[in-house]
């Protein structure tokens, strides 16, 4: 059985991205999850990172402005004529 040098919160914070990307080695991943499961601070931190990502994803829900579309359609019409 692995003798784990338990991760500190400071270390966990640096591993968050690798964890979310599933790039951690199995032992490290296990240590990460073990730590977060019993650490309120890191639980909150990881949640914040996840929420940040989900808020970033929502930025793409912007519509294209109608004036821009009009201009682009004009470009399209001119291209068709060529």
């Amino acid at each position: 059985m692995l003798i784990s040098n338990k991760l500190t919160c400071k270390e966990v914070v640096e591993l968050v991205t690798d964890y979310l990307e599933e790039a951690l080695l199995p032992e490290t991943e296990a240590q990460f999850e073990e730590h977060v499961a019993s650490c309120p601070g890191c639980t909150i931190y990881v949640q914040q990172v996840r929420q940040t990502i989900s808020m970033l994803r929502k930025l793409t829900e912007e519509p294209t402005f109608p004036e821009t579309k009009e201009e682009l359609l004009q470009i399209f019409q001119e291209w068709k004529k060529e």
Binding site: T8, C9, K10, E11, V13, E14, V16, T17, D18, E21, A23, C39, P40, G41, C42, I44, Y45, Q47, Q48, V49, Q51, T52, I53, M55, L56, R57, K58, L59, T60, E62, P63, T64, T68, K69, E71, L72, L73, I75, F76, W79, K80, K81, E82
Partner: protein
């Protein structure tokens, strides 16, 4: 465009290699989905609805990516417009060796880079790939953790971060929050900005992003890590303001 009198464009007009098991794009292996093949066909015939669907799908993303290279919105808009012209003009020759998306975004970044050069800006990812991935910079202020010799919790949080769970939904999704996030992203160093834009805003996969930017997975992860940490921190600061 004289193709309006043709019978439907035959598959040999575009050398198509389609995935047999699914219609999904595989940008890194360069196969076209059935949807893309159809779309290209319609575009070549001058079908306006096809072009509108293309705009709806890609325009906002192209604008965002252009701003990584040329931050001023009005300049970015010009760049994207140029890119659309490039797309239309290149349609005839497009062979489908890469996905439609990759092709469009390459045209976009080429236009953006050209414009950036003209404006005397530096271009992200144009120089040595090994940009600053070696520094052991921590992404959270080290002062927020107890020292390694702390008797109780070495390296532990000195004070708990505040949970965002109790922030009402409408504040999380508000226009102001949105603007804060966008500001934070645009304030990132260009490499980090590019990676977080493609990965977290546009939802590209790690593979697509690495392939497109020409960087390794490790580099990409380091950049993403730093970028996300900065945006998280900006949000934390914002939510603490009230």
């Amino acid at each position: 465009m004289s193709e309006s009198t043709h019978s439907p464009a035959s598959p040999s007009d575009v050398r198509i290699v389609q995935e047999e098991t699914s219609g999904k794009n595989s940008p890194s292996t360069g196969t076209l989905s059935t949807e893309d093949v159809h779309l290209i066909e319609m575009l070549r015939r001058g079908d306006e609805a096809a072009f509108v669907s293309l705009i709806d799908h890609y325009h906002a993303s192209m604008l965002r990516l252009a701003q990584v290279y040329v931050p001023a919105q009005s300049v970015a808009e010009e760049v994207v417009q140029e890119a659309w012209m490039g797309v239309l003009q290149g349609l005839k020759r497009f062979e489908g060796r890469s996905s439609l998306k990759t092709w469009i975004f390459r045209i976009l970044t080429n236009c953006a880079k050209t414009r950036a050069l003209r404006e005397g800006r530096s271009i992200p990812f144009s120089s040595l790939p090994d940009f600053d991935t070696k520094s052991n910079m921590s992404v959270v202020d080290p002062d927020r953790f107890l020292p390694p010799d702390d008797p109780v919790a070495p390296g532990g949080w000195a004070a708990l971060p505040s949970s965002w769970e109790n922030i009402p939904e409408d504040r999380l999704l508000s226009e102001e929050t949105r603007m804060r996030i966008e500001t934070a992203v645009m304030a990132l160093p260009p490499h980090q900005c590019a990676v977080i834009t493609l990965r977290d805003i546009e939802g590209w996969s790690a593979e697509e992003t690495c392939h497109f930017l020409g960087i390794s997975e490790v580099n990409q992860r380091v950049l993403l890590h730093r970028a996300r940490a900065k945006v998280r921190q900006a949000l934390e600061k914002y939510f603490e303001e009230e």
